[in-house]
């Protein structure tokens, strides 16, 4: 799958911009603040219906305007397809494929897949477990709609169960019978969520380790450990065991919504023992593995969005990555960088089908 054309109107800092892309590497170079990342974000919008920064849609409208528009022309399974996204202040977001409005945005997600590697991925290491669960859940949901459905239902059951626990406290009543109704719902949807995640991590690990070795060229041994109390007991038993604590705390303390992923390097958490470069290698390998995973499940190669990828890497790792991305493993790639010369070298190295855009504050220059 390829993005052939992109048109922006009043999106972030762009008044109006028109791009024609090459089938392989497309890079955007320029100084800080000229809007390189915004282009990647626009592509992210077309793929996943939202900004990768998870901001409110209306915050992406150029200052002083009341709407923005993003239009893309994709080549997918040999056909040209148009995707249109329009956001107007205080109005519902419009999303169209081939001029037909979607009734549900979730129908679009997964048709034009993309993977973004960006400095904000750091949150996966530095922030709480919610980020790591989100990574896992969105990676699986991109190809498995049944999983998404089960996850949503599971979360609803937890929400209702928590409300019931609260109401027990308020009314000074306790009904094990009512609680067990929601336990059953949690078990029905939670068990498959757990085993799907387990399978996913098991499948992802070898690919991830391969990419880490390719990027680092080092001996460090990295691992992804899915930590869940459901490895040791069924959700039914866990809920039974946590009952008195749940009643006191008035929320559900066990289940897949409390799972975490541990990122390990040489047997220790990378959060505490990895250098910045090692952490970035780790995250990049993780995203590349995620890419590979989707490419295989979908039988179409996602678009790879690499935001400020080379920052923090030593020269050797930059070389390794250049070799990796310019090989045949990835489909169409979009890269931003501040070093114009470095990008020129990369493109010279990887043959034809590439385009290089030099972004200035007020215009865009195409370098041959």
């Amino acid at each position: 799958m390829q993005l052939q054309k992109l048109f922006l109107l009043d999106f972030k800092n762009y008044v109006e911009a028109d791009f024609s892309f090459g089938p392989k590497i497309n890079c955007f170079t320029g100084n800080n603040g000229v809007g390189k990342t915004n282009i990647l974000d626009a592509i992210h919008y077309l793929s996943l219906c939202k900004s990768h920064l998870n901001t409110q849609d209306s915050l992406n409208i150029r200052h002083g305007r009341d709407s923005f528009m993003i239009q893309g022309e994709f080549l997918r399974n040999g056909l040209t397809e148009q995707v249109h996204c329009g956001v107007k202040q205080n109005q519902k977001k419009h999303f169209q494929r081939n001029k037909k409005e979607y009734s549900r945005l979730s129908d679009h997600i997964g048709l034009f897949p993309s993977i973004m590697v960006s400095p904000s991925d750091n949150a996966l290491i530095g922030e709480g477990s919610v980020e790591r669960r989100r990574f896992m859940d969105s990676a699986i949901s991109q190809f498995d709609k049944v999983y998404l459905e089960q996850l949503v239902m599971y979360q609803k059951a937890v929400y209702q169960r928590n409300a019931l626990l609260k109401s027990f406290q308020e009314t000074h009543q306790f009904s094990p019978e009512m609680l067990s109704l929601w336990d059953d719902q949690m078990i029905q949807y939670g068990e498959p969520v757990f085993s799907r995640r387990e399978d996913f991590i098991r499948e992802l690990t070898p690919v991830f380790q391969y990419f880490y070795q390719e990027i680092s060229g080092a001996e460090e041994k990295v691992e992804l450990v899915y930590s869940s109390r459901m490895h040791h007991a069924s959700l039914k038993d866990l809920l039974a065991g946590a009952l008195s604590r749940d009643r006191i705390l008035q929320y559900t303390t066990v289940g897949p919504h409390k799972d975490d992923l541990q990122w390990m390097m040489n047997g220790f958490p990378i959060r505490k023992f990895g250098s910045q470069g090692q952490q970035k290698s780790f995250l990049t390998a993780l995203k590349f593995a995620n890419y590979d995973f989707i490419a295989q499940k979908n039988e179409t190669r996602p678009i790879l969005l690499l935001d400020d990828l080379f920052d923090k890497f030593d020269n050797k790792r930059v070389e390794n990555i250049v070799r990796l991305v310019s090989g045949g493993r990835f489909g169409q790639i979009f890269i931003t960088d501040t070093h114009t010369e470095r990008m020129k070298e990369l493109l010279a190295f990887s043959g034809s089908g590439n385009r290089h855009f030099l972004i200035h504050g007020d215009h865009i220059e195409i370098i041959d």
């Binding site: 129908d107 709609k145 049944v146 459905e149 239902m153 609803k156 059951a157 929400y159 209702q160 169960r161 409300a163 019931l164 609260k166 109401s167 019978e177 009512m178 109704l181 929601w182 059953d184 719902q185």
Partner: protein
């Protein structure tokens, strides 16, 4: 126009009352009130009379809890209907939907809602006790669960099943799957998947 600057207290009162209704904002409310002002006295009286009588005289059927003009509703008192089958629905609106199918000749039982702790609705707020009493007294062969296919609907189904499965009554639920007239390519994966799992024997009607 500033909608809050009324020239008359009476007008303002009427607008405020209409605006309390669901789906009606202050602008629509004002439009309705001004419309009523242009109408004949008798016409307005008919309207207010209809509303008052509705509120004062409406009954809930003692058997099925449906809205009715008498203590026992027309459905429950109809001897031609099948009194051994009871269809359990969430609300009065659902009775109308099932009736509109013209496919059902049994009785109903209106729960008045579904179990949802988030909305503060528990079993005591709904008519489960009456349903169980009805079943325990015998004479009912089948209970059809016709609740929404949401998590709350499912949970309510489980709850009813647990309360009723000790009685000799058949408990059934609406079929779930691809809807009539749908093209498969537009059916969502969850629904299509479930239809496959619950597929049925193909029978030619002669």
């Amino acid at each position: 126009m500033n909608i809050n600057s009324f020239s008359s207290k009476l007008l303002e009162n009427a607008v405020n009352e209409f605006a309390k209704l669901p789906g009606i904002g202050r602008k629509t409310s004002l439009r309705l009130v001004l419309h009523l002002l242009r109408k004949d006295f008798t016409e307005v009286e008919q309207l207010s009379d209809a509303m008052l009588r509705l509120r004062r005289e409406i009954c809930y059927c003692k058997i099925c809890h449906n809205i009715s003009d008498s203590e026992i509703c027309e459905i429950c008192s109809n001897p031609l209907r099948d009194h051994t089958t009871v269809c359990v629905v969430e609300s009065v609106k659902d009775v109308m939907s099932v009736e509109n199918t013209m496919q059902y000749k049994g009785l109903y039982h209106v729960l008045g809602g579904i179990i949802s702790p988030i909305d503060g609705i528990g079993p005591d707020d709904l008519t489960f006790d009456a349903l169980e009493k009805k079943v325990s007294e015998g004479g009912i062969n089948e209970i059809i669960l016709a609740l929404s296919t949401t998590m709350e609907g499912d949970t309510t189904n489980f709850y009813i099943y647990r309360r009723l499965n000790k009685y000799p009554v058949k408990i059934t639920t609406l079929a779930r799957g691809v809807s009539v007239g749908d093209e498969l390519e537009y059916a969502d994966q969850i629904t299509l998947g479930r239809s496959l799992i619950n597929r049925q024997l193909f029978v030619m009607e002669s």
